[in-house]
Amino acid sequence: MWFATIFRRKPAVVEPPLFDEAFLRRLERLSLQAQRTLRGTPTVGQHPSRQQMPAIIFNDHRPYVHGDDPRYLDWHAYARQEHLLVRLGEIEQEVAVSMIVDTSRSMATGEPARLRLALQLAGAIGYLALAHGDQVTVLASGQTGPVFGPVRGKALAVSLFRHLRALAPGHQTDLAQATQQVVQRRPQGGLVLVISDLLTPMPIETIAQYLPAPRWQVLVLHLLSQAELEPTLYGSLELVDSETGEQLVIDLDDETLAAYRAAAHAWRSAIAQRCTARGMAYAPVMVNWPLERQIIPFLRVRRFLG
């Protein structure tokens, strides 16, 4: 009967998974491009470092001191110079990867919402870090403790994804608190990934204040939506801020919209310039870009990924 289903409870909307398994396998071929200046734990990890240690494959020598492992003595140099020299080679290190995900309400507005893309990016990069032996910590803006981590090991990727999917919007953008937590938990530095719409006053300055280069390598993924850059609003409107509830009465006409588009372009350019000036890597990402076909290649071009 046609009315047989009118009282049937509609099934809950099931959030699709962030990735599929095939995408993760393809993602493992990439790696995070960490700077050599970062201080990580040597002998574990796969990132190059500036530290040198006795090694078979060498690029330098130093005089032998008591206690050095005789296997690393360069006997050929001793035959020529009659001095005992130890072969020194570069070592690889692991990097502490901290990801600050903006979970403010502004990330949940618009179609599609930026938050899902932020979680996908955090998941992809976190999985990449875990797969390469890095220490991963996930922090959400506005929350006092880390959402996930710090942990190592690819086996924890599932836990990472579960924690990411549990994130829900509901706070204002507070990058300062998140960056402070990063510094407090790992003062020696590391790689910090900021995924945010940056819709807060002076976000770059706040980040740079706590995470100065070169100790910290900061990657800023700026999530932009087309409705934000090229709004289709028109007429007399009462605009409401999604985070603060603040209202603004405005009459939008062609002239006003042109002014807005100019301001948005200037705002975006200013953020990019400030990031460059403070040694941060900046990558604007449109929220409607497909992750694998457009965002990942774009991050490789920007040398976020290798």
Binding site: T109, L199, Y234, G235, V240, E246, L248, D251
Partner: protein, 615 residues
Amino acid sequence: MTLLAPLGLLALLTLPVIVILHLRQARRRRTVVPSLLLWQQLVPRPTAHRRRRLRWSLLLFLHLLGAFLIGFALAQPQLPLPWLGSVRATAILIDTSTSMALREGGNARLERARQQAATFIRQMRGADQVVLISAGPQARLIDRGSSADAARLLAALEQVTVEGAGSDVNGALTIAETFLLDQPGARVVWLTDGALPLPDLTVLRLPLQIEVLGTDQPNRAVVTLAARSGNAGAVHVYARLANHGNQPFRGTVRLLVDERISRNEAVNMRPDTALELAWTLPGPAQQIRLELNGNDGLPLDDAAVVNVSGQRPINVVLVANDAPALARALQAMPEVRLTTVDPAAFVPDAAADLTIFVNTQPRRWLAGAMLIINPPAGELLPSNGPTPAGTTLTFTPAGEALLRDVNLGGIAWGRIAAIEPPAWLTPLALSDGIPLILRGRFEHSEVAVWNFDVANEALTTRLAFPLLVARTVRDLTPPPAPVALILGAPLVYQADIRATQLTVIDPNGNRTTIAVQPAIPATIEPRQVGVYRVQEWAGDQLLRETQFPVNAGAIGEADPTPRFASAAIGAAPVQTPVTRAAAPQPLWSWLIIAAIIVLIGEWLYIQRRPQVEAR
């Protein structure tokens, strides 16, 4: 353009309402944005003057268009649209003369005409109108209607039959002009076999398209048949046969007297000639039938029937003690069957067609015909006593028909009663101002009064007396039936004054009842060939039964050869499509459909536009 309901335009007041609603809706719309960070950087602009400006959008346009269409439809506009629903008004004249019954190629000409008319009716569209007219002996309207009445028109078309000799084309054209003259683009289509002289079509006011259906076909017919009684009861029969065609005809004729074969003769006829035959048969005979072995496509006119005499017997009851001169005059009339009754023994007889009272008068007006002669003073005809009458005789205008050429001058009438007649009795003749002959009709009585004595030898010895008797008797009784009728000719039948209804029995035995009023003739229109019978009824009493034959053969119908070809006369040529006149068409249905489409467009637009779009 005309508006049938101009008040419906009041619905257009919804247009400014829609505009106001759009202005209100466009004034403030609450929209959630991710952040006001960028919006707050814009320099605030004065907004008061812009709030009143209407921003045109597709949605507003669709709203206004939908409201306009619905409001305009409520006014019920009409507009002449040549490309949409134009009206074609056509009168179809169907020739129903006898020659249309001729069969060619398996189908009668009339059947082909009906098929063409049916095809035309089925092709009608929209408000097309058609008028079906029978162009038979008397033009008549068959039916008319639009495409919605196609089923009824087709049914009426099936009832069209051959109606008789002659084709009243001018009358049919008059009927067509009556219905179509005020309609632009109207036309007339005449479906005929062309077997008649081309009528005068110079004063046509509508385009006429003539469709000739017939071809040159041979036909043999009995065009005339007459019979009369002769001396010693002999019957003289005269017949005229016609052979229309290019071939000589050799066949037989069969003569039947009262349905018994009397003659069977061979006839030879040259092409396009007529053959006259005459026979003298021993009597008596009532009816003669002549049958010709024509072997042609029109067997309808190969036989004819005629009555030898159309006179009906008149039962006369003479209520008199002694009136020999009157009795002799009555007996001299062949149709009269006289019965003499003593006044003292008189009892009204229902079988009497005429009752004659001599020197007496009845107590009441009897049903039927009465002749009262020399009435004494009584209740019905009171008088002031006998008065000497003069020799001067004056005929009133009412008596001209009855008394014309009846020489009653110079008769000494003697003493006559100065009767005071009722108002319905009209004097026909006066003698010095005293009514001498009166005639009148009262209810179911035909009454004549002779206010003089028939024992007066000065009258009865004159030739005028039997003439006066015969005329009076025939004036009081119904006229004789015709000996034969041509198919299509109506019969004006004067029934007995006592009759209340007629029963007409056609050759197939079908009965038709016609109510009649006293002294008002009934019209009988025979539609078939054969012998019709007519029964006159006074309540449950059968007064009389007469019969008359109906023949199809006629001089004008015997030749089925078309005398003119198909042609177009007037504005519309034959092969050119008829211009469809642009008659005012109601547009409300189209406007409502357009409004529904606009509303669907609105719905689709609302469903598909971005939620945040404010345009």
